[in-house]
């Protein structure tokens, strides 16, 4: 009898606690998410950039997608905001800019953005809180660089992986560099796909290995080649001496050997 009374009492207490908690949570004002301590610059990615874009959009400065990538439109929006609010116009988001933004948008919350619902994770405080766009970049380039499109870069990564996986890293960069050297040479077609798919130009196209999924190392090799690393110093051709008996290829002036490939002028 006594234990039954205790059970009823305990049940009431639990019900009261749950109800109180629920009321407390629902009566709280919508949480205003604040920036983390890190500065943001062109090229930054992550939830902080989502917040930056959301606040700038609320103020009417930003009209692009809220994608968490600090691109040109975000950069220009930041500059305009900085100019209008009397801040140094740098395009970089430092503490002063963040404070001014937060002050100017007290009612902002992440639910206001179309993709804000996905941003409420604990990653917000992390220095490297990566956006979904970066996850896409893990499988391939999501945006272009140095005048080349993302599909050009991805195609180059396929060639590098198909032709030189297992070679030392500079050997992989060298394959990408040869493609870029051809792009800048008047003897070759003017686009990356035309260079890659020119009949007989690359063995990996002939044997289908170009369709293999490139790994991160191949993508890194492409990125380094696009950034200017040319271990071949201007080579336009290369061949594997163990597999080639093409007379004119052997007759080309050799520049250097990297891994299993001889690179020629």
């Amino acid at each position: 009898m006594r234990s039954g009374f205790r059970s009823v009492h305990l049940g009431k207490w639990i019900a009261f606690t749950v109800l109180t908690c629920a009321l407390t949570i629902t009566s709280l004002p919508s949480q205003v998410k604040a920036f983390t301590a890190r500065n943001l610059i062109y090229g930054s990615e992550g939830y902080d950039v989502n917040e930056l874009q959301g606040r700038l959009h609320l103020l009417g400065y930003y009209w692009g997608k809220n994608d968490g990538i600090f691109g040109w439109k975000t950069y220009w929006a930041v500059r305009t905001f900085q100019y209008n609010f009397g801040l140094p116009v740098t395009g970089d988001v430092d503490m002063a800019t963040k404070q001014a933004l937060v002050k100017a948008t007290p009612n902002w919350n992440y639910h206001m953005d179309s993709n804000g619902g996905t941003n409420s994770g604990s990653n917000a405080g992390g220095a490297s809180g990566l956006s979904p766009a970066t996850v896409v970049a893990g499988d391939g380039f999501s945006h272009g660089s140095a005048g080349l499109s993302a599909s050009d870069l991805n195609l180059m990564a396929h060639v590098v992986y198909g032709e030189a996986r297992g070679e030392p890293f500079e050997g992989q960069v060298a394959i990408a560099a040869v493609i870029l050297n051809r792009l800048h040479d008047p003897k070759f077609p003017k686009t990356i796909p035309a260079i890659v798919y020119a009949p007989g130009a690359f063995d990996c196209v002939n044997d289908g290995q170009i369709n293999l999924q490139p790994n991160a190392e191949a993508r890194r090799a492409v990125a380094d080649a696009v950034a200017g690393w040319d271990p071949t110093h201007g080579a336009l051709f290369y061949f594997n001496p163990a597999k080639t008996n093409n007379a004119w290829m052997w007759a080309r002036p050799e520049i250097m050997t990297i891994g299993h490939h001889i690179f020629t002028d």
């Binding site: 003897k187 071949t232 201007g234 080309r252």
Partner: protein
């Protein structure tokens, strides 16, 4: 009786298996033939298209020579550029592994670049140099057409004119090789060579730097001092030659760098090591990269681009000359975002000018802005230094903004008002 049945059964089984094998083999053979026919048809199609475009190109060159009216001249030049580009595309679909020369492609590229330059600079149709170049192009186009016609009209006894198993068939290979050879002398003809497409300088530079100094240069870049085991190998061929390839190991990974044997400058630097989880602040990495550049002696630079892939940040810095950024020259610094260490450095583009290119009479700001299209929504404008189509450094205005939803940069020559190029950003 039982023996006869056994033999009959065996014979039937052999016939059935053999017949099936034959049918399968025959099917494979037919598939292979169909594929070869398709490949041959594609090569033939590209060849015929190349011939048609070359004939159109020759016609457009003739038209350009026949008129003195600048408007008509520009229209015909536009046709020349169009057919030259189409011809390049046709050639890119033909087998390319017959020769390293690619003279046809170079010829078309030269024509395309030259007429584009004439159009930009409003070249006088009657100028002797223009007429001489057009005549040369016209004659060369005629040679190409004759060569292509010989291949097109070559007797085709089978469907396999182009392929012989996995190799290029001798008739096609020899025909294309002869054509490339016949154009060889044209490419070396300097009188019709566009400055924009001129070849790379092959003048050998002297070796003024010792290998030990090259190692010291890389030591400073890597921030290490124990380099007794490091190697420096001299290379004397290729662009930037002579240069040293310096390689060695550090506690953090292996270094491979290149140092000019003439100037002692660091050409490239790469540290190979496993990259951990990205946890370093991206903006801080940019600050570190610029500090690293300053440590290497590059103080006057401005950040022009930044990106982040697979836990590695890449920052491009443009050199500044008298406060103006040089757009066609950059220093790229690679930073690992696991700990913020610089793991790469590469120079890109041309060497920047040593002084500010002179402007004798610049157009007014309004006159320059008037060169922009009405749909271009400008966000920023700034003076820059760029390379013009003649390969000279000039001052220009860079206008950055959007067309619809896409970011673009329009670069206009400060003095001539000519649009030098349009870059799509991002």
């Amino acid at each position: 009786m039982r023996r006869a049945i056994w033999w009959m059964t065996t014979a039937l089984a052999v016939v059935a298996v053999g017949g099936s094998a034959y049918a399968w083999g025959r099917q494979q053979q037919l598939n292979g033939q169909a594929m070869a026919t398709m490949v041959n048809a594609q090569f033939d199609g590209a060849l015929h298209n190349a011939l048609a475009d070359m004939e159109s190109l020759r016609g457009a060159l003739a038209s350009a020579m026949l008129v003195a009216d600048p408007v008509s001249f520009d229209r015909h030049l536009s046709d020349v550029a169009k057919f030259a580009y189409a011809g390049e595309n046709d050639l890119s679909r033909l087998p390319s592994n017959i020769s390293a020369d690619h003279n046809m492609n170079e010829f078309l590229h030269t024509v395309d670049s030259q007429v584009e330059h004439w159009m930009i600079s409003n070249q006088n149709p009657g100028a002797a140099s223009v007429q001489q170049a057009l005549t040369s192009y016209y004659n060369r186009a005629g040679n190409v057409i004759s060569g292509l016609e010989r291949i097109v009209n070559a007797p085709r006894t089978t469907a396999s004119f182009w392929t012989d198993g996995r190799q290029l068939a001798p008739a096609a290979r020899d025909g294309l090789a002869r054509l490339e050879q016949s154009l060889g002398t044209m490419v070396s003809d300097a009188s019709i060579h566009s400055s924009a497409t001129s070849g790379k300088s092959k003048v050998a530079s002297p070796i003024l730097v010792q290998s030990t100094d090259a190692v010291k240069r890389v030591e400073a870049a890597a921030g290490v001092d124990k380099t007794a085991e490091w190697k420096a190998q001299l290379h004397t061929t290729g662009e930037n030659a002579p240069y040293y390839v310096v390689s060695g190991d550090t506690k953090r990974g292996s270094v491979r760098a290149e140092v000019s044997a003439t100037t002692g400058k660091l050409i490239s630097y790469h540290l190979t090591r496993p990259i951990g989880v990205a946890k370093y602040d991206f903006a801080q990495a940019a600050t570190d990269a610029q500090a690293w550049l300053a440590h290497q002696g590059y103080h006057q630079v401005v950040r022009a681009d930044a990106g982040n892939t697979d836990g590695i940040a890449r920052f491009a810095y443009q050199p500044m000359i008298s406060g103006l950024p040089v757009l066609d020259s950059s220093f790229n610094v690679v930073v690992a975002l696991d700990n913020g260490q610089v793991i790469g450095f590469y120079e890109q583009g041309k060497l920047p000018p040593t002084s500010l290119p002179k402007v004798t009479k610049a157009l007014s700001a309004n006159a320059l802005r008037a060169k922009l299209g009405p749909k271009f929504h400008m966000q920023s404008e700034r003076k820059v230094i760029v390379e013009n189509p003649n390969g000279n450094w000039v001052q220009a205005m860079a206008y950055e903004g959007v067309l619809g939803d896409e970011p673009y940069r329009v670069i206009i020559d400060l003095q001539t008002g000519h649009e030098l190029r349009v870059d799509r950003l991002g």
